[in-house]
Amino acid sequence: MAIIAGLSLGAIFVVCAGGVLFSAVLGRKHIPAVLAIAGAFSAILMALTSAAVLLAHQAFEVGLWILDGFGRFTIHLDPLSSIFLFASGVVYFSISLFVGSFLRNQGDDAHPTLHFSILYFALMAAVVLILVAGDTVLFLISWECMSILCFLLINYDPRGQSDKSAGYIMLAMSEAGFLAVAVAFLLLARSAADLSFASLRSASGSLSPQALWLTFLLGFFGFGVKAGLVPVNFWLPRSYTAAPPVFVPVFAGITLNLGFYGILRLNADLMHAGFGTGLLALITGSVTALVGILYATTDGDMKTMLAHSSIENAGIIVAAVGAFLVFRALDQPVAAALAVSAALYHMANHSVYKTLLFEGAGHVEAATDTRDMDRLGGLARVLPGLSAIFLVGCLAISAVPPFNGFVSEWMTLQALLRSAILASTSVRIVFALCGAALALTAALAVTCFVKVYAMNFLGIRRGTWEPQARTQAMSKFPLAILAVVCLLLGILPTYVLPILSESVEPLAGASVTTALVQPFFTATPQNAQLPAAFLQDFHNLGAQTGKGFVPGRGLVVLLRGLEANPVVFAMSPSYSVVALALLLVVTWFVVTRLTKRRTLARRPLWAGGIPRLLPLMTYTGTGFSNPVRVVFQAIFRPNITEDTRQTVAVHFRTAIHRQREETHVVDRLLLKPIGAAVQWLAAFLAGMHHGRLNAYIAYVLAFLLLVLFFYRGG
């Protein structure tokens, strides 16, 4: 297995290099095909590598050459990074095919150049390197490469029209984050033998609590920038919106995950971040989720809105990670394992469905040349296939069973509810408030995605756009794969959890498999894995249906409690989907039977009796989300200017021009004050520059005296 992992890991880089080579040799016309084939192939290799590690139940490690002064470069692929690598592989497979088919159907002037191909494959290699890096130097180098490549890809625009400022903001934030991460690693490495992760891990035990806190804060800031956490995520919606449609899925599905990977690697694996840090992560995550979904619900641009929704999901994941850190610090391994596996599950889910949605948004943009949800509409008739697939994505992200978002959000909320086992009341209150924030987030997410689907695909066309023929030619296959993955992750959690268990067991100290996936299929009254009475009860409920011909331990996710309360929570999407499908069939049958003799009259759409329903009269996304905007007025604080033109008197208005400006709550509460403070400080210090020569000489003298004073001993 280790051989397979090593070979296929090496092959990833070879294929990436081959992709660049073929792009150069075959010429510009064939680049889309090369991107699709080489990209998909190396994505399969990613999945293969990580599968090999997960199946072998052991980490794959290999030392590379030694760099003078930095120590040995090591490749270390453990189950934690394998989970991320596997998710990246699945997502990259779809993205590569999408990129290929998208670029092939663009006009000739938008044809990708060799430049794009190089950036694309280099980013792929950098992502893999980050995930397999086994020492600080390799990790930081590849992290930095990834940041710069992202910046270059955002600004990749063969027509040279886009606004470059979004890319620069992102680069500045990434660099600030990188510096913070570098300092965090150096703090850890102070007492370590060398820079490899293994020695950092063993050295971190001797760190003082203050140093742990500082490392946590620096790392949380640095990785939080990439993961899109409040308050350092203002670059995210801007750059997602500015990025070319072929590249946004990479952002949402791949590089966002690297932020979570960093947070987990640093705080959960390399050092044991304490209880307070966990609470901080939990609160930050919940606030991020709420802020993200609020702006997602009210935004009218499809890409910006999806970007805000990524922030929301990042918040949910980090909140689960925070809960994990708290549980672990308070010696609750089962709850900790539940929380961290919920975080990983949600991470994988988010990258799958968000990639699907961004690819769908790319299709929509290509078909209509607009992203304004107030102008779209009626796409279900133009693009029926895309509409169905996009609907799956919307259902998954709004956590509607039987799709994957439901399982992970349910587990996250259950993990937060496990705070009932904690002793401290104040901690329990924090957990309850964060749980409430996440529940509100989940509810708003449904509103948000009802709006996205309804406004884009249903109703009538509101804008002046004409559906473009080239989109019909674009393949829906890459999206369809992801839709299937959404469904599979949603109905087979009992097969996913054992895989996650592999990676979280070393972190949490307990296995989610034994905790959550009860062995209903393997347990017999004799071997006493489950109490006989308990088994009998659940047998009567049908939990052993399929025993014998369905593999695995069982199909029920169940956490057992104590004597008084034997079942803490339980669910089984696998059984429910079958039951719901049966119910649907029975209902359909009964209804058609009952209404057989009824005549059905079809009348034109009722539109209030107006002569003709004009597109401008129909419900828009802005109207749909207005209740949210009104309820959360205190957060949005809009600046509304109304300009009314009237002819004779107030009753005869000719035009009402209403403008609404919003400053994002983070910008308003954090960035604006900081900017103002810096400018004030600069203005204050500028007072020194008054141009009097003798005063300048006095400054020099004073500084010299100061230096002499400090070095008086040496």
Binding site: A601, R603, P604, W606, G609, P611
Partner: protein
């Protein structure tokens, strides 16, 4: 702090007892002119001449009233030396002149009827009276009558106004959008006969020229209780009001 619930309890039920008992409070209805026998043919002709909408027709010494045209101007009551007879009451709902009979809604709707109101160009008077049905005094909800905003859920199409040209299309669309068990009721003189508007290039002169009308509520505007009577008739809980006699041998539409 208001004690509205306490006031409410002290005042007791103020809603009208109609239709269980007749409502006789002074002022609930303006009444209306009825067929009158004068002492001379001259007096009858003068009464017919004073009516602005030709609602009064003289026949010998008698005058006959077409309530579908009467706009309640009260000229025939106040400006004549010998006035027309005037009757109190409000149970005026009648069948359109071109119909021998109209069936009420099926009995399933008797205690639950949803009403779609279309303002087909009315002056606001009939709508204002209609609105009173929602107030505590008339309170049509107690009888199971509800206004609805969508024709898909409506059982009765209640039209006020003479059907102006611009409202003809929307009115027809509304009627077409309703389930086929629908009934149509024209409320007010304008909706019945065009009233003071009459027939013109912008006015269809009554609902019956556009849609098949099932019941009519004369009055200009009809008082709330008259409209309530109309609703009860449509629901099959009351029968139509007394028919005004027409002169013998005359074929003109009288009722």
């Amino acid at each position: 702090m208001s004690f509205w619930f306490w006031h409410g309890l002290r005042k007791g039920v103020q809603s009208t007892r109609y239709p269980a008992r007749a409502e006789n409070t002074p002022g609930v209805s303006p009444g209306r002119p009825v067929n009158t026998d004068f002492s001379s043919a001259e007096e009858a002709r003068r009464a017919a001449a004073i009516c602005p909408t030709d609602a009064i027709i003289a026949h010998g010494k008698s005058t006959y009233i077409n309530h579908g045209k009467c706009v309640h101007c009260q000229l025939c009551l106040r400006s004549l030396p010998s006035p027309m007879n005037w009757e109190p009451g409000y149970e005026w709902t009648r069948l359109p002149s071109n119909r021998a009979e109209s069936l009420p809604l099926p009995s399933a709707f008797a205690k639950s009827m949803h009403i779609m109101v279309v303002d087909a160009g009315d002056c606001g008077a009939c709508l204002r009276e209609l609105k009173q049905l929602n107030n505590p005094l008339y309170n049509m909800h107690r009888l199971g009558f509800f206004l609805t905003a969508t024709p898909r859920a409506a059982d009765l199409l209640l039209v006020v106004g003479p059907v102006s040209e611009n409202m003809r299309g929307p009115l027809l669309k509304t009627w077409e959008a309703m389930p086929t068990s629908r009934k149509v009721m024209a409320v007010g003189a304008c909706a019945i006969s065009g009233g003071v508007f009459g027939k013109s290039f912008m006015c269809a002169c009554g609902v019956s020229s556009v849609l098949p009308v099932d019941f009519e509520v004369p009055g200009n505007p009809p008082p709330p209780l008259a409209i309530l009577h109309g609703l009860l008739v449509v629901a099959g809980r009351k029968s139509v009001g007394p028919v005004q006699e027409s002169p013998k041998g005359d074929t003109a539409p009288w009722r």
